[in-house]
Symmetry: C2
């Protein structure tokens, strides 16, 4: 596995490989790899000649009160894991390499951000769009891989990739779950024993919502209320949101039709967990 830190160098590497007719799969990460990232890399491995993974903790997507400085980093372990799942090239740029000078242009995501987690994270997706625009131009992927656990992120990325005609496909990879249904997350370790037993009920609430939709229910409000009850009955967590929206537009709907997302966020004592499912009615 090759490691590159220079933007110029990785772009040249990607250009050369494209010229040779190779397809490139790209997995952007902020490092501290977990099973979710590795699932993305494994799928990229299957579908492309070459797999590039980036590790870059992007300051632009952190709010002033968020944890940029304390964001966990372990590049050595990341290298081992990336190698193990067949990554060909790891791109680990410095902050100066990615943002050498003040930008002359500002990207602002204007849709799909006033819902779910985006409502509280002003500017977060502008930072995501900026870093991905740069990374896409540096790695020239045919396909870029993102976890559906953060479905809003995928919706935002699909939006600007389509609007701006980026020459690549966005691949959303299904959420990986524990045997009891709990979505895998590095934050699960912060749950205490009782909370860990309750946490799968977030997914349970999503399945409950799905079930009543499949039985014919179409009123978003009713579905939200059933899911909310389910979470408050079965867990000690404090609900942040329970939403039923169109997907990928993430717009409020009264009556369900087409592709929709059921999404929840709830706070346990030391961990805020999110989960979602997407379905077509």
């Amino acid at each position: 596995m090759k490691i590159i830190q220079s933007a110029k160098e990785i772009q040249q590497f990607a250009k050369n490989n494209k010229k040779d007719g190779k397809t490139i799969g790209f997995v952007p990460t902020m490092g501290y790899l977990h099973e979710g990232h590795l699932a993305l890399a494994k799928q990229a491995r299957k579908e492309n000649d070459l797999v590039i993974m980036s590790i870059f903790v992007n300051p632009l997507q952190f709010g002033p009160n968020e944890d940029f400085d304390s964001y966990p980093r372990d590049v050595e372990r990341d290298q081992e894991l990336a190698k193990k799942v067949g990554v060909d090239l790891l791109f680990i740029p410095s902050l100066e390499e990615m943002y050498p000078k003040e930008a002359t242009i500002q990207l602002t995501v204007t849709k799909r951000v006033q819902a779910l987690c985006g409502r509280q994270r002003v500017g977060h997706f502008d930072g995501v769009a900026t870093v991905l625009t740069k990374l896409f131009h540096l790695t020239l992927p045919d396909r870029a891989y993102f976890g559906m656990k953060d479905a809003q992120q995928v919706a935002v990325i699909e939006g600007f990739v389509s609007d701006m005609n980026f020459p690549l496909d966005i691949v959303g990879v299904e959420t990986i779950r524990e045997q009891d249904g709990l979505a895998k997350s590095s934050r699960n370790v912060y749950l205490n024993e009782q909370e860990r037993r309750e946490a799968p009920h977030l997914y349970g609430a999503l399945l409950k919502g799905k079930e009543i939709i499949q039985s014919g229910e179409r009123h978003a409000n009713h579905i939200i209320s059933v899911m909310t009850d389910y979470i408050t009955t079965n867990t000690s967590s404090k609900i942040d949101y329970v939403e039923v929206l169109s997907y990928p537009e993430l717009e409020s709907i009264e009556l369900l039709h087409g592709k929709i997302i059921l999404a929840v966020a709830s706070k346990f004592s030391s961990a805020r967990l999110i989960d979602n499912i997407i379905l077509t009615v």
Copy 2:
């Protein structure tokens, strides 16, 4: 010469050619081709395996009081001219093809726009950046060609191409002039006989500025004042601006150093003409 109207089709065409190792030169235009455009295409022809030209009158870069509807169009003549200078592929998308739905992202050029023509054209360069981002992703050029006549446009484009790591080079092509020095422009036909005799003095003013700089003058204010006097003495036009700025940053400078631009805009009875020269002191 091939003509393509579909975004998907031209992107596939560009991808296939890149895969075959071909280099692509791209000349974006709004059509109604004149000698300036053809000079760009001729240079692209010399430097690339394949030359793509686009013709698209981009509404996003017109202000509410500007002439989007009356902008001159003559696609048949354009096709003949493009073919004659060796364009391989003409991309002529419809409005719906370029902007099929409301965008989810907004590009805002935040630097290099508060000077020269940009000061009066709020949002103009946002529209330029948006359409070029899309066109670059559709045509996948190794090199894109722009006339230095609009030096501010080149500065803005170089800015966001560098900030966003686009995998291409921006080539600024020198302004083409009449024998008497007047910069070629479709607007020159609007000059009356006397104005046509006066108009080369705009370039004369730039040369005068250059001359005193080469003799050692370094104060921007003094140079501006000499150029202003030169224009008012030698023409009946009404000066819009005379500026001496750093290039490509387009920032005010008191004492000249490094790369700079001398730029003028002046209004004759029915035509506003612009001109500039760039030099290193």
